[in-house]
């Protein structure tokens, strides 16, 4: 019942958006402001015959690799910094620097140093996201429960069982926050990085359409991208969050 109401509300708000878009495009009456019908037709056409699938796939692959790298490295560094004062002191300035360095600067520098390569692109995205993961997981690892750690030691659980059943579940909420904010960040940065120095991907396509003033394709590609982001949010992150929270009252 509640689900049906929520769905109806969602449909209603989408309709409002579509109507407003249609009205605005009719009022503008310009090739540079296409209405929803034209854009959706272009979207279908591009998906079937154009480069949309290839570009979207390229972007998603970069996102996946950069996201995984940043999460793994960031988690390890965050936990290490929480556990050792020495490591924390040594790395803290680097983390603060990366946290405040604009992603654009990181991307340009890496393209200069490594050439216009895939490694530079993925490296730039990874480095932009890394510091937020480090900071979040460091915070999480500092709140680990010592009583439970003692329990694990007294029952001789060993490293792996302790990690899997005692430590990681405590870090899960922080991991989730890092994933959320990290993905939101990566979606935006990856397009800039592609626009600057890759021969494919949504960011590259946007640049081409910009030069051609092809607004229909531009919006169609952007919509496809948004659809994927929402699918990840609803299909992966939210179910994961519910699963991780199921032991709470």
């Amino acid at each position: 019942m509640r689900l049906r109401v929520a769905l109806a509300e969602r449909v209603a708000s989408l309709l409002v958006l579509l109507v407003a878009w249609e009205a605005a495009s009719r009022w503008a009456h310009s090739r540079l402001f296409p209405g929803p019908e034209a854009v959706l037709a272009t979207l279908a056409d591009e998906a079937a015959h154009g480069g949309l699938v290839h570009d979207l796939g390229a972007t998603l692959a970069r996102v996946a690799v950069a996201f995984t790298l940043a999460m793994v490295i960031g988690t390890v560094l965050g936990i290490a910094m929480a556990r050792s004062r020495a490591i924390d002191t040594l790395l803290d300035s680097g983390v603060v620097l990366l946290l405040n360095l604009p992603a654009l600067v990181i991307a340009v520098l890496l393209y200069i140093w490594l050439g216009l390569t895939e490694a530079a692109a993925i490296g730039a995205v990874t480095l932009s996201k890394l510091p937020t993961v480090v900071v979040t997981l460091r915070e999480g690892a500092r709140t680990l429960d010592r009583d439970l750690a003692d329990m694990a030691r007294s029952f001789d659980l060993g490293i792996w069982r302790t990690l899997r059943h005692v430590t990681l579940p405590q870090l899960a909420p922080f991991f989730l926050v890092a994933s959320r904010t990290g993905l939101a960040l990566i979606w935006k940065i990856v397009l800039v990085v592609e626009l600057l120095g890759r021969p494919d991907g949504i960011g590259y396509a946007i640049q081409v359409f910009f030069q051609l003033f092809d607004v229909r394709r531009l919006i169609a590609y952007a919509l496809a991208f948004v659809a994927v982001v929402l699918a990840v949010e609803w299909g992966v992150l939210q179910p994961l969050e519910r699963r991780l929270a199921r032991w709470r009252r």
Binding site: D150, M151, R153, S154, F155, W247, R249
Partner: protein, 263 residues
């Protein structure tokens, strides 16, 4: 197969805690010597802050920062298997009762053992529940089941029935005695409740105020079935209270009133 339980010899010269900022170091234990025999149910009591929990943590191997020695017999092979029941249940909130107990089992396939244990502590119906759904008494049953799940040679219990109402605590004490009778283990049980001490113990060690050492001991030769009536219990309890107040004078009378049991 005869169950192998473990004897413990502790000789702690000194255990200090380095003080926090502002306060100096605190000596928790000094000159504490004790021997706990195989399959003995030994209760440790004493005023709060006398180092009872510290003693358990040292024996559990959680705290190695002390001067002195700790040895187990038989000492062949590794450390004895120790089941620790903490003051709070310390269950993993993100695991069900069954998962919490199964987690510590050395051989993960012992499903039958697991289910029987859960049934024995009266938690069969709640085995799929998460700790947040449990009452205080149920959480303690689960913690008890977890301690027994490793088939412990030695059970360490740190005021495990604290903050339960009297009826629930009584219930859990008899449950504990039932479990120990079918699954023999040496037990070291900390409490500051004299009534609980004389109900459970084969022998009671009374620690001094900090820094803690054994200042008196009181063996109880009566079988637990013979201490059931209120009069006997209150006599034992009065004896223990006298011992705790005047350790030396009372020690002599204690021996005559309750002759040391043989072997």
């Amino acid at each position: 197969m005869a169950p192998v339980t473990v004897a413990i010899t502790v000789a702690i010269d000194e255990k200090r805690y380095s003080g926090r900022a502002g306060a100096g170091p605190v000596t928790a234990l000094r000159g504490l010597h004790a021997r706990i025999g195989p399959s003995e149910f030994c209760v440790v009591t004493g005023p709060s802050g006398c180092g009872k929990t510290t003693l358990l943590n040292i024996i559990a191997g959680l705290d190695r920062d002390f001067s002195g020695t700790l040895s187990f017999a038989p000492s062949d092979g590794d450390r004895p298997r120790i089941g620790y029941v903490f003051q709070s249940p310390r269950l993993l909130p993100w695991r069900t009762v069954r998962e919490n107990v199964a987690l510590v089992q050395p051989h993960r396939a012992e499903l039958a053992v697991l289910e029987r244990l859960l049934a024995d502590v009266g938690m069969a119906d709640m085995a799929g529940a998460y700790p947040v759904q449990l009452s205080g008494g149920m959480a303690r049953r689960a913690a008890l089941a977890r301690a027994f799940a490793i088939a412990p040679d030695l059970l360490l219990m740190d005021e495990p029935f604290l903050s339960l109402d009297a009826a629930a605590a009584d219930h859990l004490r008899s449950l504990l005695l039932r479990l120990v009778s079918t699954r023999p283990a040496t037990v070291l049980f900390v409490t500051h409740d004299f009534g609980e001490a004389v109900t459970l113990a084969d022998r009671i060690l009374v620690l001094s105020p900090a820094p803690g050492r054994v200042m008196a001991e009181m063996p109880i030769a009566l079988a637990r079935t013979e201490r059931g009536d209120p009069d006997t219990l209150s006599a034992l309890r009065a004896e223990l209270a006298r011992l705790a107040d005047h350790p030396i004078a009372a020690a002599n009378t204690a021996k005559t009133a309750f002759p040391q049991r043989n072997g």
